[in-house]
């Protein structure tokens, strides 16, 4: 009981000691980099629309594909993590962050072999995204199917 009180006091003290970093610079970085990535996507889409008979929905898919490819290549060259250190969520939230979260464990675990290293660990971080996404989409579909 006595130690419980001490631990509580210590954790409160610890919280007061944690260095306060100014949130504005990191929020600004996230805003700018995130905005630029979205803008890049929009420009890619507009360029794709210049192709004759291109449909908007098809161009949207290509837009995602191209962004994913760019992010994956930047990850391979060791550039994406530097962008991430600067931008934080600015480069995690866009689809490029999803691509980075699949390529980076693949690179990291390739030394443990093709199957149990590279392939098994590829979705170490992005796995939850696919799992939660699929389940949420089925729930969404069921809602519309039933009502």
């Amino acid at each position: 009981m006595e130690s419980f009180e001490r631990d509580k006091r210590y954790n409160e003290y610890l919280k007061s000691k944690i260095p306060k970093t100014k949130p504005w610079p990191t929020l600004f970085n996230a805003f700018v980099v995130g905005g630029i990535i979205c803008l890049l996507g929009e420009v890619i889409k507009d360029l794709l629309m210049l192709i004759p008979n291109m449909e908007s929905s098809v161009a949207s898919v290509w837009e995602s594909v191209i962004l994913i490819v760019i992010a994956s290549i930047l990850t391979g060259f060791g550039i994406y993590d530097k962008i991430g250190a600067f931008a934080g969520a600015g480069s995690i939230v866009p689809i490029t962050g999803f691509s980075n979260s699949i390529t980076s464990p693949a690179l990291e675990f390739k030394r443990e072999g093709m199957i149990f290293g590279l392939c098994a660990n590829m979705f170490k971080i992005a796995g939850p995204v696919i799992v939660c996404g699929v389940i949420a989409s089925i729930v969404a579909g069921l809602i519309f199917l039933i009502f």
């Binding site: 000691k17 990850t75 530097k82 995690i92």
Partner: protein
């Protein structure tokens, strides 16, 4: 050897430090202790094809070089004591496989260096062992892989985080008369003040350092000012500030003779937030700076308190708080 007070050992024959060797990575080689390290790697892969293998090679090189300096053969080694941060302490095990010397693997997370010195000194002190090789180290890239995220994942490090040191240190203890001696040690208890934040190791480990340091002062009736240097192992900037506060609260004020390996390892412009951490941090500084200074006599009495966080990724994910430990050794230099 005999026990005094609650947890303190007195080494009556004062096991000596015969030689020591430190190897660090390129980033550490640009830090504050650059001129003291024996070897600075230009590439932290160390010519190997994985970081795990590079870590092993650092261990092996540190031991071989310290043996060379002590003019010993591997067959002369009475006992080899080592540990590291990898699961099943693989770096130490594989190093011991190469050396073929009697081997004790120890684990105390970042406190392992001092733990192995305590074990080594105890075996030597009046027990017939002629020498003991103590070695520990860590590698940034292997620790990131095991404890955090892939290196190429774009994330930000939180402001309370520390940077795992790439480095290894080996120290050979001997029953011969040496300039540098190990005189006393305190074996720490596992301390847990219910800190759960794995990004704030300094805050979690400071209470362990407090308990061990306080117990040592009580057991030996000494004061912080009796020492030229009191060095804690990788509490970092925040953790060492907290330790100052806690020690003052318990009635022992730490003055300017107190420093922390993690806090001092890197220079201010190296973007490591709270400083260095990992087995290699205290091991490389102890095997270089501390022993060199003690040998030349500019430091006479030194306390080294190495702290370790004993959680795993699984215990953390299951919501457990972080159990921590701190071990202490007292070192004496020339002509004390």
């Amino acid at each position: 050897m005999r026990k005094i007070g609650k947890q303190t050992i007195v080494f009556e024959h004062k096991p000596g430090v015969l030689s020591s060797y430190s190897i660090v990575g390129p980033k550490e080689g640009k830090g504050n202790f650059a001129k003291f390290f024996h070897q600075i790697l230009s590439d932290d892969l160390f010519g190997q094809d994985s970081y795990e293998k590079a870590e092993r090679k650092m261990f092996l090189s540190a031991v071989l070089e310290s043996l060379k300096e002590a003019k010993l053969q591997t067959t002369d080694v009475d006992v080899l004591i080592g540990g590291d941060l990898m699961n099943q302490i693989i770096s130490s095990n594989f190093m011991a496989r190469e050396l073929q010397a009697p081997f004790l693997g120890v684990f105390g997370a970042c406190s392992t260096m001092v733990e192995s010195l305590i074990v080594g000194a105890s075996l030597i002190d009046g027990n017939g062992f002629k020498n003991a090789v103590c070695v520990t180290g860590s590698h940034f890239s292997t620790a990131e892989k095991q404890f955090r995220y892939p290196l190429e994942l774009g994330t930000q490090r939180p402001p309370t985080s520390q940077w795992t040191v790439t480095g290894a240190g080996a120290t050979i203890l001997s029953n011969k008369k040496c300039d540098v001696k190990i005189t006393r040690a305190t074996i720490g208890k596992v301390v847990d003040w219910n800190v759960c934040d794995v990004n704030n190791m300094g805050g979690a480990m400071a209470p362990a350092a407090l308990e061990t340091l306080y117990t040592f002062f009580e057991d030996t009736k000494t004061k912080p000012n009796d020492y030229d240097l009191i060095l804690t192992g990788d509490l970092g900037k925040l953790g060492s500030e907290i330790l100052r506060d806690l020690m003052e609260y318990r009635g022992y004020k730490l003055e300017s003779n107190y420093g922390d390996c993690g806090q001092m390892m890197f220079s201010n412009d190296q973007k490591v937030f709270q400083g260095g951490s990992g087995c290699g941090c205290v091991a490389s500084i102890l095997s270089s700076y501390v022993i060199k200074r003690l040998k030349e006599g500019s430091l006479k009495k030194v306390l080294v308190v190495a702290t370790g966080a004993l959680m795993s990724t699984i215990s953390s994910q299951q919501g457990d708080s972080i159990p921590c430990i701190a071990h202490l050794i007292e070192l004496e230099g020339k002509n004390v």
